[in-house]
Symmetry: C2
C-alpha cells in the first residue's frame, strides 16, 4: 500500500470524551470515528487491525473443527420469548419493531438462533459433535457506553456454540475450544492469562476468561507466579487458614468508639491492626411459603475488617441461590436494635443466620460492633461470648499473599481486560427450546451445549492498553495495521532516496510483507510522529546522507534509537525482524 | 474439507413459500435457512459462496484504489434528518429507538454516514479523489419480502462512494468503478450485461446497472446483438420513425364499438391490426399558484395500441418533473365528457395538453375513442380531424425489433437480475450536508460524489437463476462452495478406494484447490444427488471396479456422462479443468 492511496488521518488532540488511552490513541491514529454514543465507524486504518484479528480467529476456529455460518443481526422476538430472555433481559437488549409492528431484537449474542438451527439440523447422535461459529455485528444497548471500542454498543464478536451428545463429549469440545483460544491469543502476540471463571449454577470448572494483562484493566485477576493457577476475582478461592483458632486472652468489653462507624476508623482509634476487626454485613433472602406469602430471612455475614465480600461466593451459600439483597433499615433495627456502623453478632434481638468467613472463624480476641450506637465490643471470642457461627464459608475476595488454592505458592493480583470467554452451558438453552437429538438408543435426548466468545473489536483496544507509550500505539506484528513502514526523506529532492525506497517497498511486497510506503511527501518530523502514533512496529528510514554511505536506518517501535543497516541488506534484515506469526 | 466435518444438510422438498428456483435450490441445498420474513441465516454451505463473492469484490475494489472501512449498522437519525431521508423515505427504512428513546435507523445504505466522514476527513483538494467502500449488513424493511435472498430484508451489500473535486474527475472515478465492475462480473463467470440506466434528474449517461441474464429476471433489458448498446427498459430510447406521416385515405367516422373498451378488443372487432389503434392515457399534474392554491393540469398521452407507456420517460416531460398522477374520474369526465375505455383526442370539452408518442405522431387513418360510450372514431388524421399534438415525445417502452439508438441494428430484449449499479450522484448529498473541501483557489467547494453497489447476497441467487437444471445448482468455479468433490464408493469395503480418494484429496488440497472429500459413507445415489443439488462443478468418483482397471471417473456438473481418467493422471486432469479464475 502507498500512503498517498490510503486514508491517513491523525489528530494532535484526543476527543474530550476519550477517558482511556486506547480510545484516545485509536481516535488520534484515525482508526475509529465516533458516529454516536458507543457507535463507531471502523476507519480504514482500524479495519486493517480488525481484519487481522478476524483472520487469526477464523483460521484457528476452522483448525479446531468449528464451522462458520452467519446468523442475522435482526432476529424475530419469538425465539427470544421461548427462552424467556426477551422479557428477562434488561434494556441492554435492543428491542425493535418492524413496519408491521412485529417484535424483533438486534442480536447481542445468538444462543436462541443457533439452538433453533441445531434442533432442526442435528437430529442424530451421528451428527455430533458440531461447533458453529460466526464473526458478526452485535449490539448491546449499554446504559453508559464508554471507553471507545472497549465498551461500545455496536461491536463485532466471534461467537461459537458447541453441541454434544453428553457431558463427557461436551467437556471434550470445551477443551478443544480452550486450546484453540490459547493458540489464538498466543498468535496475537499479547500478554494474557486464561483464568478460571465462575460457571454459575452449573458448577465444575468449565468456564475460563481470556484476559489481556493491562494496568488499566477493569478486572482483577488472581494468579500464582509459581504455578499455573489463575482465576478471576469472583472465582478465586480463599483457602481455610491452616492454623487453629487461638485461645482467648482478653475479656469481652463494651468499648466507646464515638463516631467511628467503619472498621478502619475503629482500628485506628484503638491502635490495633485492621485485621483484628470484624465487619458485619446484613443480607436478606425472601422466602415464599405455600400460600405465596413472602417472609424475609435475615443473614449476618462476618468478614475481617481488611477483607471484601465476594458476591458470587455469597450467592452460592445454601439458601442464597435464588438471590439476596441487603437488609432494609427496618429489618436491621428489628434484629439488631441498632443502625449500621455499630452492628455485631453479640446479643441479637431476633434470630439471624450467622455466616463467618473462614478467616473470621479462627480469630480470637476480635472487635465488632456492639449493636449500640458509638460502641464496639473488644476481646470477643467464639464459644465464650457468642455461639459458634451457623456456617463457616469462603465469603471474601482473595488478596495478594493468600496461599494459592493449588497449594503451590502465594497468590498475586494484576489487572486484566476480558476479551474472550469459554463456557460450558449444559442444557440451559436446549431444555428451554426442546433441542434434542436421537441418541444411540433411539430416544430423544437434550443437546449439551457450550458457548465461546471473542470480542473482535475489543481486542485491538485491549492490545493498546497493554502496548503504548507517550508517542502512541505499539502493535504486535500479528495485528498491526501495517507491519513495516518505509519512510523516504525528501524523495522529491533525491531520486536516489526515492529509488531505494521504491525498491525496498517492492522487495517486501513481493515477499508477502504487509508494508506501506509513505509517499505523501511529509516532512520527517510529521511523518515519524504519524507512524509512531499509528504504531507500525517496524520502520525503515531512507535519507540522502546515509544512503550515500550505503546505509539506511531501521528502528523497531520499541527501540530507543535507529540501527544503521547496509542498503543492500535491508530487505533481508527487516524480514529477519518480523515475528514468525506474521511472516 | 472433509464432509464428515462439515454441515451437509440437503432437503428433498423445497419450502412452500419458495416461489423461485434459486430460493428453492438454496434452501434444499442447505445454503440458507429462513429465520423470519426476508431474514436468513447464511448456513455453512451458503456462506462459502458469499465469502467467495466478497473476496472477488474486495480484491477488485482494492485494485481500483477504493479503500475499505466499515460503517455502523445502527445509525443515529440526525444525519438522516440532515438529508431529509429520515422523513422522506417510506417504511422500508427501519426506524428504531434506543433505551433512551432516541431515534436510529438500521442502515439500508450509507450515503449520510460516508458523507459525514468525508466532510470531516477530506478537507483539501490534495486529498482527492477518494473512494470508500464497505461490505456490510444492510436492512430494508420490504413490505413483501420474497424470493429468498433475491428480495430479503436483511442482506449484505458492497457499497462504495467516490469523492471528487469536480465533475470531470468524478466522471473519471465513475469510469474506474464501471471498469472494476466489469472485471468483477467477468470473474464471477456469469453471463451479464452492463446496461445504461436512467440517471434521474442529473442527466448524462452516468448510470449503469449490472444485470445477470436469467429468463426469470424481474427486469427487461434491451440490447443490440450487433453492437455494444444495452440499456434497461426505463432508459432505452425509442427512436423517432424515419418515415414521414402518410396522407389520409379514409374519412373520419364515429363507429359503434359496444363493450369494446380496449384497443385489442376494438382491433379485433374491426378486423384491423392493433398497431392502427391509439390508446389515450389521462394524467394530471398539480400546479401551485403564488397563493399556494393547487390547480390540476390535465394531460392526454397518446400511444399506439400495441405499445406500453414508460413512466420514467413520461416523468421527464417538461412540466412533469415534479411528479404526475392518473387523472381522477371527475377530472376525466370534466374534460372528455366520457369515462375511460372510449376516450380520445377528438372533440375535447376543456383544453388538455396532448402529447403524442413519436410513433403516433406519424400515423394516418388511426382509431381512437370517440369520447362517447361504446363508440370509437376510425380514419382519424392529424391536422384534418384534430390539431397537431402540443408535444411529440418518446413515451413508450421499446419492443424487440425497434431500431437500436446507436443506429447499428435492431433491438432485442431479454430478462435480467440487477446485482450491481454504478451511479454518478453529483452534489446531491454533499449539498444537503454541506460537505465541502478547499479547492486549489482556497475557496470551499462541494464534493462531487458517485455511489456504487453490489448485492453480495443477491449475487448467488442470480447465479442460480442463470445456472441450474432439474437436479440442482450448477456453480461457476469462481463462486462454488467447493470447486471439486471427491466421491469414494464404498470406502469402508475397499481400502484401495479409500486410499486413492485420500491421495487425490491431499494432492488437490496441496495444490490450493478448494476440494471436499465425501467421507460420510453415503450410498452412491444419495451422495451424487447431494452434490448435484449443491452444484459443485467438478466431481471425481472413485469406485472399486474402475480402480482395478487403473481408472477413476471425472464428471463436470454440466456433463451428461462421466469420463474415465487414469488414476495416476486424475490430479493433473482435474487441475486442467478448473477455470483460471479459481486456480
Amino acid at each position: 500500500m502507498k500512503a498517498s492511496q490510503f486514508l491517513i488521518s491523525t489528530l494532535k488532540e484526543a476527543p474530550a470524551d476519550a477517558e482511556v488511552v486506547s480510545h484516545q490513541l485509536m481516535t488520534r491514529a484515525g482508526m475509529v470515528k465516533k458516529l454516536g454514543a458507543g457507535i463507531y465507524t471502523y476507519m480504514p486504518m482500524g479495519l486493517r487491525v480488525i481484519r487481522k484479528v478476524e483472520a487469526i480467529v477464523r483460521e484457528e476456529m476452522n483448525r479446531a473443527g468449528a464451522i462458520e455460518m452467519t446468523m442475522p443481526v435482526v432476529q424475530p422476538a419469538e425465539l427470544w420469548q421461548e427462552t424467556g430472555r426477551f422479557d428477562k433481559m434488561g434494556p441492554e437488549l435492543l428491542r425493535i419493531k418492524d413496519r408491521h409492528e412485529r417484535d424483533y431484537v438486534v442480536q447481542p449474542t445468538s444462543e436462541e438462533v443457533v439452538t433453533d438451527i441445531a434442533r432442526q439440523e442435528l437430529r442424530s447422535y451421528k451428527q455430533l459433535p458440531k461447533n458453529f461459529y460466526q464473526i458478526q455485528t452485535k449490539f448491546r444497548d449499554e446504559r453508559r457506553p464508554r471507553f471507545g471500542l472497549m465498551r461500545g454498543r455496536e461491536f463485532i464478536m466471534k461467537d461459537a456454540y458447541s453441541f454434544d451428545r453428553d457431558q463427557a463429549s461436551a467437556k471434550a469440545s470445551y477443551q478443544v475450544m480452550a486450546q484453540a483460544y490459547r493458540r489464538i491469543f498466543d498468535r496475537f502476540g499479547l500478554r494474557y492469562r486464561a483464568v478460571a471463571a465462575d460457571s454459575g449454577a452449573i458448577g465444575g470448572d468449565l468456564s475460563e476468561e481470556f484476559q489481556v494483562i493491562a494496568a488499566t484493566g477493569e478486572d482483577a485477576i488472581v494468579y500464582c507466579p509459581d504455578s499455573e493457577y489463575a482465576a478471576n476475582m469472583e472465582k478465586a478461592e480463599a483457602l481455610a487458614p491452616t492454623q487453629a483458632r487461638a485461645a482467648a486472652t482478653q475479656a469481652m468489653a463494651k468499648t466507646p468508639t464515638p463516631g467511628k462507624a467503619t472498621c478502619a476508623d475503629v482500628a485506628q482509634l484503638l491502635g490495633v491492626p485492621l485485621s483484628t476487626t470484624v465487619k458485619s454485613l446484613v443480607l436478606a433472602t425472601d422466602v415464599q411459603d405455600a400460600n405465596g406469602a413472602s417472609t424475609a430471612r435475615i443473614w449476618l455475614l462476618l468478614l475481617r475488617g481488611d477483607h471484601d465480600m465476594n458476591e458470587v461466593k455469597v450467592g452460592k451459600l445454601a439458601g442464597m441461590e435464588q438471590g439476596f439483597r441487603f437488609a432494609t433499615l427496618a429489618e436491621i433495627d428489628a434484629h439488631f436494635g441498632c443502625q449500621p456502623g455499630y452492628l455485631g453478632p453479640v446479643g441479637l434481638r431476633q434470630p439471624v443466620t450467622v455466616v463467618a468467613d473462614r478467616e473470621v472463624a479462627v480469630m480470637h480476641d476480635w472487635i465488632c460492633g456492639a449493636n449500640a450506637p458509638d460502641f464496639h465490643m473488644t476481646g470477643v471470642n467464639w464459644g465464650r461470648d457468642l455461639p459458634e457461627p451457623d456456617l463457616v464459608a469462603d465469603l471474601r475476595n482473595v488478596v495478594a499473599g493468600d496461599p494459592s488454592p493449588d497449594g503451590k505458592g502465594m497468590l498475586a493480583i494484576e489487572r486484566g481486560i476480558e476479551v474472550g470467554h469459554v463456557f460450558y452451558l449444559g442444557t440451559k438453552y436446549s431444555r428451554a427450546m426442546n433441542a434434542s437429538f436421537l441418541a444411540e438408543d433411539g430416544k430423544p435426548q437434550l443437546l449439551e451445549m457450550g458457548c465461546y466468545g471473542i470480542g473482535i473489536t475489543r481486542l485491538p483496544a485491549a492490545a493498546i492498553e497493554q502496548n503504548h507509550d507517550a508517542r502512541g500505539i505499539i502493535w504486535p506484528d500479528a495485528i498491526a495495521p501495517f507491519t513495516v513502514v518505509v519512510c523516504p526523506i525528501g524523495p522529491d529532492r533525491s531520486p536516489a532516496v526515492k529509488e531505494a525506497a521504491d525498491a525496498l517497498y517492492q522487495e517486501l511486497l513481493a515477499a508477502g510483507v504487509d508494508v506501506i510506503l509513505d509517499d505523501r511527501g511529509e516532512r520527517p518530523g510529521a511523518m515519524f510522529a504519524d507512524w509512531e502514533l499509528i504504531g507500525v512496529p517496524h520502520r525503515v528510514t531512507i535519507g540522502d546522507k546515509a544512503l550515500k554511505e550505503g546505509q539506511v536506518e531501521y528502528q523497531h517501535r520499541r527501540d530507543a534509537a535507529a540501527t544503521r543497516v547496509a542498503t543492500a541488506e535491508i530487505g533481508t534484515f527487516v524480514k529477519s525482524r518480523l515475528s514468525s506469526a506474521t511472516a
